[in-house]
Symmetry: C2
DNA sequence: TTGCTCCTCACGTCACGTGAGGTGGC
DNA sequence: TTGCTCCTCACGTCACGTGAGGTGGC
């Protein structure tokens, strides 16, 4: 009969751990003194404790371990095989996640090195729901005319009778920066129910449709006027590049606030994106 | 003014999360209605929330994030740099850990494939404290004489007057299996205080010294008689091999129980070991 | 007036670590 | 008799998820 401290020393676990395993039923002492409540273990229990430790080392929860070591021999072997396979997939998953995290940390460090020359943007990845928009798409010959075109199309949309549900946004349909021949879409988030309340005779270029949901949206929010909005684009481009993503759809430029003091403007830039080399397929 | 649900939708976090950030002081709503306790956020708080999310993505705790975004601009940038460096090291550490875990999972799966031909041993890694032993080291010409030699040396040790403190053990001083010329040490864990109580005239080969502590001890416990103890050695050898470890000292064979029914014998085999390619130096 | 949104507790999570306060064993 | 070992509560951990039960807003 071993006292709890002896058992703990043999297996190199804490006494508290042994008490806890007793409590959850993983390893009951072979005898508990009726009067003193002292726990006494048998040497024969050491292999079981070692098994528990080994399985915990592989990443199983105590609950799973309990299932594995309490079921009978035959079942448990096949079961163990299945759970090991699962664990393997899980660990591989975590490995790629940590890899990506590491990449993002390094990017951020790089951002600091060139500190001062550019405001620090926070790149955020998120899922975005599908949303209904009313929009007019066209080609703007020169970037200098974008603002004017934008206001005109905006007016047409407002006058069509749809009900705004969120801010205005632009969709840019070419990848990369261009000064001429911009394929751009002026759009407004609207209440889907208001689509059929459009007035007759509205501009034929006006479309109402659902912007698809995006699983992986890379987003940056820019504060202030639009003069150096391209800093934000530069950041997001470098981010995509160095973290191994590529854009998978038109970029969205959302005007969260575009009234009042330009210093308080808030513009969110969203890139639908996906991992370039999807090594982790299946 | 945004209601909590709007803020949550914009940043793609849960409402509960916003309430929690309020509670811990990370992001207080810019206004709380006196009567209804409704939380109202300003658009200007969105960048702060995005920063929180971005930093959380890098693996920081909310507590750390609080320190980063509440200190003033200058300090926080240098501080962020330091914490990013730390995080980087931490993530790299976790990466190698997960890699090792993956290796152990694969080993275990391999073990199951060859199921039946060998009992499943549980390989456990642990730290072992320094311990005082009394021992006699010698060369046994042939493995068939090991048992006899062992008893003789054991008797000499017992008669020397030292006080046993744990089980008997063997230390094998050559690496790899040998049938002839075994360099072996018969030893007994003893109470250090009893060392100077040794009787005068004890065998001059008898040494009392401290077995060093071992940081990384790879251990397997064998149940039953000693006839197929070499299965355990085979397992531990393969384990060291396929997980990239090499032995760094004499192997210890500890006789936890060697009396009564041989089927109940318990023998622990311990190999001091280290990673072969210590890529993670420093 | 009826849903809808929002509110405040409060418990649960996972595997123990860490006291507090007390009693048997040698 | 004095340390030493062991005992049983019970709180804390981290970042929320998930009800329960209730009230204001449109």
């Amino acid at each position: 009969m071993l006292r709890i401290s002896d058992m703990a020393r043999l297996a190199q676990v804490s006494i508290r751990t042994l008490r806890y395993y007793d409590e959850v039923g993983l390893l009951k002492p072979s005898r508990i003194d009726k009067w003193t409540s002292y726990r006494y273990y048998s040497l024969d229990q050491l292999p079981r404790l070692n098994r528990i430790i080994a399985l915990k080392d592989l990443g199983f929860s105590l609950d799973q371990i309990g299932q594995l070591i309490n079921s009978d021999k035959e079942v448990s072997l096949e079961q163990l095989r299945g759970m090991l396979k699962l664990k393997q997939a899980e660990v591989e998953q975590r490995l790629t996640e940590e890899q990506e995290r590491l990449g993002r940390i390094k990017f951020r460090l790089g951002q600091i090195e060139k500190e001062g020359q550019m405001r620090e943007y926070d790149v955020v990845i998120k899922r975005v729901e599908a949303q209904t928009v009313a929009s007019i798409r066209g080609v703007v010959p020169d970037v200098s005319q974008l603002l004017k075109w934008s206001f005109e199309m905006g007016d047409l949309i407002k006058e069509s009778g749809v009900q705004a549900n969120g801010p205005w946004l632009h969709l840019y349909h070419q990848s990369g920066y261009q000064e001429e021949g911009l394929d751009v879409e002026e759009a407004l988030f609207i209440d889907p129910a208001s689509a059929n309340r459009r007035k007759p005779g509205h501009d034929p270029r006006l479309k109402v449709y659902e912007l698809p949901a995006v699983e992986t949206m890379v987003s940056v929010t820019h504060q202030g006027d639009w003069d150096n909005l391209n800093d934000a684009y530069a950041t997001i481009d470098r981010w995509l590049q160095s973290n191994g993503y590529k854009p998978t759809g038109p970029c969205r430029e959302i005007y969260l606030r575009e009234e009042g003091d330009p210093a308080d403007f808030l513009t969110e830039i969203q890139f639908p994106a996906a991992k370039v080399d999807a090594t982790g397929t299946s």
